[in-house]
Symmetry: C2
Subunit: 300 residues, 2 copies
């Protein structure tokens, strides 16, 4: 991956996130098919940080991707976690780099759940889609899980379900209130500022709310248009580079942290490290003092 790195940076990476049951996988399929019509090569990376046993054991969503296989212009890779997320985030990032270097113009990274994984993936991609579905609990719950502040595009999928209009309205109201807007991980502020002077027009991205019925292929045209418009916005506003810098900063930090633990393991013998763990577990020493002693031992 190190040698490949200089060939990366051309792909448009798109994170797709949302709660289970929102139909993310079907949506990702339909987006991929639509983008393929423009002769662009599409990579799909499906990340499941919540489950260590989905990697092939349970067929799940990927079954629905059958109609994409056989197309050389589409590459699909599932990533399941066995252990720490840090490792998963890094290996996902490596797969994205490999696809990027291999000439895939668009890379879709799909994640399940609502939590830190999404925030990390949003920091690692150019465009973040947050998928909601009507009837997934009351509005406040939707909002809580909505991780709105990381969305570049909001998607209400299964929009033929009852309650869809209310979900769309609730999301639009929140955007109007300026909620989908905080500066995040050093990313360019996405605050909805309707009163911005014209000269800054290119710098303002008004988060659209797209309604889709992925299973029938409905609304996908408009959604893919919004994705390409966001790409255009990133280029014109200079935010593409801002996001590349944020992604790079985060990746360097992660590599420094895991690299440091590896180095420490080489410096301090295992028996010694385990003794410290026991001392903390049995309250003979507090963790802060323990860590400060380990730093001293490592000469850092």
């Amino acid at each position: 991956v190190s040698a490949l790195y200089s060939y990366t940076g051309r792909a448009h990476t798109i994170g797709v996130t949302g709660s289970p049951g929102t139909g993310k996988s079907t949506l990702v399929n339909e987006i991929a098919k639509k983008i393929r019509e423009q002769q662009l090569r599409v990579g799909i990376v499906a990340v499941d940080p919540s489950s260590p046993f989905t990697g092939g054991a349970l067929l799940g969503d990927r079954v629905r991707m059958r109609d994409l296989s056989g197309d050389d212009g589409i590459f699909i890779r599932s990533m399941a976690s066995r252990g720490r997320l840090g490792g998963l985030a890094q290996s996902t990032s490596d797969v994205v780099k490999i696809l990027d270097a291999a000439g895939y113009e668009v890379i879709l990274v799909e994640t399940v759940g609502a939590g830190q994984a999404e925030v990390d993936i949003s920091s690692a991609t150019h465009t973040t889609l947050v998928v909601e579905a009507p009837g997934m609990g009351d509005e406040i719950q939707t909002i809580k899980a909505g991780i709105l502040e990381i969305a570049d595009i909001l998607v209400v999928n299964k929009s033929d379900r009852p309650g869809s209009k209310q979900t769309v309205q609730a999301l639009k109201m929140m955007l109007h209130m300026g909620m989908g807007s905080v500066v995040h991980h050093g990313r360019f502020s996405k605050r909805q500022e309707n009163n911005k002077p014209d000269s800054d027009y290119d710098k303002v991205w008004l988060i659209p709310v797209c309604e889709t019925i992925a299973i029938d292929g409905k609304g996908i045209d408009q959604l893919v248009d919004a994705i390409f418009e966001h790409n255009d916005h990133l280029q014109k506003s200079g935010e593409w580079l801002t996001r590349e810098r944020a992604r790079s900063r985060l990746e360097i930090q992660e590599l420094l942290k895991t690299g440091f633990l590896d180095k420490l393991q080489a410096i301090i013998p295992e028996a010694e490290r385990e003794r410290v763990v026991s001392d903390v577990a049995e309250r003979r020493i507090d963790p802060y003092t323990a860590v400060s002693r380990l730093f001293d031992q490592a000469g850092v």
Copy 2:
């Protein structure tokens, strides 16, 4: 917190996790009320890693906790994240320590979502409850999001809803298949082994599936019984200490990682660090080489 640490280690910490809409907060309230009847002091820490703006801005679930306020034996604290989860996990862990040292015998830690946050919180608590609700999507979705492998007790809340029996059956089937069972973060294996020799009886914990209707207070007695039985199991099997060691190991690692980044910031000037970020973002250098140079500069 450092000075308090030697007074901690007495509280039974209980993580409560599950998707939005499962009724976790109401359930946590009811558990707290039931435990209070036994004259035990209860701390509640509600953690929301998915949303930086819930800390008081949106009332949300906490509104439902009103009937608990006014009781000196219950302490409630909401934690919302602004920034990295690492920080949130550490501050949650600190609040738990303070409550522990202050003499709260039972501490409930509630988190939303399905992802790394849950795994981290499960590593930081003695007993993990995973809450499901019927009708949250199809069974496979439930399973994917179920993060079964971290559960000590499964709860099907809103069990008066249609589809409840199927959800309970699906969960029991999965437990029978040995799915709620992998060794996780060095925790004692929870594999359901029905053929275990009798001498190991104390070491086997058969994950129960509890049915509740939290809003009506139904099924809470049995659930609280299961919680106390799990505590008993942890003590008798020696797993209490195993989990304390796992928690300590994780906390030491996290403190080492964040501590190292702080030290690096003191050693390498900001302008220099930002230049490395630009070099990586603009593909002049790959992140692995960049990090290895930073280690050299820091003399590690």
